[in-house]
Subunit: 128 residues, 2 copies
């Protein structure tokens, strides 16, 4: 194995998406959440490796899809009509836009706010 080289900057993007005013029934349906997250991964052009979903009592769902390009996750709070989504993509082949649009539609979100955080090492850390 050759000596490790500093990663490119950024190495990837971490999209954090807040979905508000969602369909409360959708947020509490683990099967719908799983179908939506898997469809979102596909819409982004991601290669799905594995996935885990969990239904909480009395309400709420968590799910993660491991993709070759990192991961997607969703956590839902039906009591707040809210879902937190994150999509961490490395490489340049993925498109987060259709994934977010699909999840917004699937969960009936009436508000969407997003931020994309660059991942990787800062200049000072790259020299470390």
């Amino acid at each position: 194995m050759s000596a490790p080289q500093p990663p490119p900057t950024p190495l990837g993007w971490h999209h954090l998406v807040e979905l508000g005013g969602c369909d409360v029934a959708a947020l509490d349906d683990v099967h719908r959440i799983e179908a939506a997250l898997r469809a979102a991964a596909k819409a982004a052009g991601a290669t799905v490796i594995d996935a885990r979903f969990h239904k909480f009592a009395p309400q709420g769902v968590s799910g993660v899809v491991l993709i070759a390009e990192s991961h997607l996750s969703v956590h839902t709070w039906p009591e707040h009509a809210y879902a937190a989504v994150d999509l961490f993509t490395c490489g340049v082949t993925l498109d987060a836009e259709p994934a977010v649009a699909l999840l917004q539609a699937a969960l009936g979100a009436t508000t969407v706010s997003r931020q994309a955080i660059p991942r990787g090492l800062t200049e000072s850390a790259r020299g470390g």
Copy 2:
């Protein structure tokens, strides 16, 4: 089910951690990565629900631990001596500090940079 109420602000914190200058062998060892991430979840005070790990060819590991309080994930790039960690916590009972310290030690990271992003709805979205 009563009408959904807007979530508290913030509903949780998403800790994004960049670990640089890591032990390359550790980054490529799925068993060590799994042990470290599970130990980090425990150190944070989290309740582990499920976990998935994957070893890539030729190198690199991805892993996610679903916790009752959301999730932890790690993605490693041995070729860059780099690991990207995220820890999404909701509620006030979790402490990210010991989890980050444990992962830093387990992966032999020589540089650590972090940010904590508040999750939940913005004021405008809360009224939506």
